[in-house]
Amino acid sequence: MTRCALFLLPALLCLTGCQKETQVEKANRDGIFLMGNSSEPKALDHQLVTGVIESKIIGALFEGLVGDDPEKDDGLPPGAAASWEHNADMTEWTFRLQPEGRWSDGYRVTAYDFVFAYHRMLHPDLAAPYAEMVYPLKNGEDYNKNLRGRILLHANVVPGVTWEDAKDIAFAGDAKVALEKGAKWPDSTTDAQRLDFVKGTGLDALGKEALEWIAADLTRYPWPAGFDPVKAKSLVDVMAAKAGDDLFELANVGVSAPDELTLKLVLREPVPYLPSLVRHYTWFPVPQHVVLQHGKISDRFTEWSRYPNLTGNGAFKLKIWRVHDMIEVERNPHYWDKANVGINGVRFLPIENPYTETRAFLAGQLHTTYQVPSDLIKEVKKKAPQEFRQEPYVGALFVRVNTTRPVLSDPRVRQAMALAIDRQQLCDYILEGYFPATSLTPKMGSYEPDKILTFDPEKAKQLLAEAGFPDGAKFPRFTMLISRPSARASAEAIQAMWRRHLNIMVDIQNKDWGSYVSAQQNLDFDLAAAGWVGDYLDPTTFLHMWTEGNGNNNTGWHSKDYEALLSKAALEPDPAKRLEVLKQSETLMMSAYPILPFAWYSRNYMLRPEVKGWHPLLLDNHPLNTLRLER
């Protein structure tokens, strides 16, 4: 046996000896960019995903109306649209598409594809998780939420009834009742069961059979007192006739295509940052001809978004997709700007383990990595100072506070906890390269929020004493949730700072990610270490979530004044004034301390020197078509 091994070893050495060229060197020759992309994308149908990992690949395969500038955050180079203009109050925008715009199968990219895309994105049955990104389109929200009564009444298709007449009707119902299966009730359903169902469900969600059943005897539905039976009959008849129909046309959603190359968007409020917003993939087009070939407009996850059917309008097209292994894209021969595409393809490698990814980079297997784990930064800085990159990124880390908990409901307590966090120390020793946060929204463009957060242990002690806990006496022992091992170090540091400066003890509990998220959504937590990354370069990407009922708020805090300021900003056509109002709203929210921000993100990653045309960008959306690889 040992003899056998003696023969094997030299044989192996021989084999390995042949591998002289690293993968990066070979890729440089082939013009392929090797990109670490952390994990497998959930899917590549950009209307059904919400993640950052997906955005990198989608950005190579598809192109939005406005392109990404490789150097400037606020640069707005033409993308699928060659030019655009807007009316005075920025509620109507006209985009003129590239005359040479082509899908990767050679078909023309038309304005109808965009209309189809926004129709699909908002289609109630598609249930796109990120549909609210396109809610700025007028009536988009009504259509997406399938507010059928409202849509029909606004469209004036119900004879003799106006929205004013009917606005007291509980269209959406109030109770959760099992959804009607298909359009039919089982034969066994009793009238009492039907009455319950109808009452609880509301007119909007009822199927044809239920509506006809009500039409047969109008007393079966709880109409508001004094509602005219004639109007009720008219309404129910129209709703029954339209039951199951797609109400897109009637909803009058603010998107239209006057001709093949002109796209008109009508917005519900002024959106001065629309060109920046449409760079997000939720606003990208889908190829109508391909989507419909593989299913209906409302079908989730059909074959259209898989290899080899996936058809995009971006600089690249899908070449290989092996789950958990790699996704490779190659030049799209039909791309309108193909002459200026600097590389032949990109290989996205879903390497989950950041240590493995860094090792792969150092061994010459990658051009760039997704992240360098913070405990490797010192080492990497030493080993590869040229390649290590540390750049600001629009994201914030904060402690989320459940303001419905006793004691934590006292703003003085929350402020004391905020004042006792030494952010500079955190960023110096633990969150290397991160920036001490002075508010929630990091500086972006001309928006810079007031500096609310400071480190002031004396004042913190005083506030805590005022709240009834002098020197932390009898302060309840709260628990801070974390979900990622990487969050533990900063959580422990904050724990220590609170103990030192306020003399209060906080426990740290690590939960698996799903439980961590649901605990926060159900307000079943005290404190949670959390983070948020912006989707576009406007403060609203950080500010909208703190409104009442928003699924990402999860603090129990909300304020009418805050929401009034946000609405005021939304209606303000002057960009400078608008930002001023947003700043006020942020100051209002931050002064209530529902969250305790402690750091602004930086992205720590590696990039090889032969990659040219890659510049620091706040949103980290590096256009891949303008990259070049030097040999």
């Binding site: 994308p41 993640g51 049955d125 939420k145 898989r306 792969a360 297997q365 928003n550």
Partner: protein, 308 residues
């Protein structure tokens, strides 16, 4: 023989059914589901998605439907990697896992058994202690330590093997993950082999052989190896199944696109179809491995034959 086969087959089916049922209800008891993302999904959208996957129905209805579909051979599609058929996941990732498992098992057998025989032969000498110390270290050091060490040394420093990545056509990329994965089993195997060999070596027929002047090497290989391997063989079957299903750490360290990562990720996100399919697959694998082990055991050990 056929009767045994048939009854084992039936037993296997029952085990799989119980496994399915327990797993299904455990998943349903999870406090989270697959449709949780960094950014909360609005209520009206979530309801639609849940209705789409039938998650709004009573659990027993879901149970019946899932079982029915599985019996028809339809494992459904992943909810984490939405829309990706479970069969695609298995056909893409399982061959990699099998390949890795086979190579790792080969490493384990080729290293472990000779080492064990050698140690038994040189019983209570420096060689024996040395070999067993190596084995003990192999068992004690976890793979997430050995893996990165090997990758750093043989991948990055010496550049003999790629530090990460997996290519079905390039055996070089198999070596480091397979060694990492196989090492612990090799260590354990060597100890089992040593013990088995020692027991066999102490038996009367060995003394007889020695008295007849048979050479030491012939005694080891011809007379004792078959008997001495019995404990090792009993271990190999289940170990093989464990290696295939438990390679997630190695998959993570070496970025191997195997089933382990799918399994862990599916559990983390409550991805019912994938968890169920993989639990059943692993279950079936273990059942088959155990069965093969039993057959091999009978072949190796005549004493078992007479007892049947």
């Amino acid at each position: 023989m056929f009767r045994t086969l048939f009854s084992r087959f039936l037993q296997g089916l029952i085990v799989l059914f119980v496994l399915f049922t327990i797993t299904f209800f455990l998943i349903k008891a999870l406090p989270y589901g697959p449709f949780q993302s960094d950014k909360a999904i609005p209520g009206h959208i979530r309801e639609k998605i849940e209705a789409y996957y039938g998650l709004n129905e009573p659990v027993y209805v879901q149970y019946g439907r899932t079982l029915g579909n599985l019996l028809k051979g339809d494992a459904g599609a992943s909810m984490r990697l939405e829309g990706l058929p479970v069969t695609d996941i298995i056909t893409q990732a399982f061959p990699n896992s099998i390949q890795l498992g086979v190579v790792a098992m080969a490493v384990a057998v080729l290293l472990g058994i000779p080492l064990g025989v050698f140690a038994a032969w040189k019983k209570n000498t420096v060689f024996d202690y040395g070999a067993m110390m190596i084995a003990m270290i192999g068992i004690c050091i976890p793979s997430f330590v050995i893996g990165p060490l090997l990758a750093e040394k043989f991948g990055r420093d010496l550049e003999w093997f790629p530090v990460t990545g997996w290519s079905r056509s390039s055996p070089l990329s198999w070596i480091l993950p397979a060694i990492t994965l196989g090492l612990a089993s090799a260590a354990y195997l060597s100890r089992l082999t040593r013990a088995g060999m020692l027991e066999t070596l102490s038996q009367d027929f060995v003394r007889t052989a020695r008295a007849k002047g048979v050479g030491e090497l012939a005694i080891l290989t011809k007379h004792c190896l078959r008997g001495g391997l019995i404990p090792a063989v009993a271990y190999i079957g289940p170990a093989f199944a464990a290696i295939i299903s438990g390679s997630v750490v190695i998959e993570s360290i070496f970025a191997v696109p195997g089933l382990g990562l799918h399994f862990i990720k599916a559990i983390e996100t409550g991805d019912t179809p994938v968890i169920l399919a993989l639990v059943l697959l692993y279950g079936a694998l273990i059942i088959v491995a155990n069965f093969v082990t039993d057959v091999l055991g009978v072949w190796l050990n005549p004493r078992l034959r007479s007892s049947r």
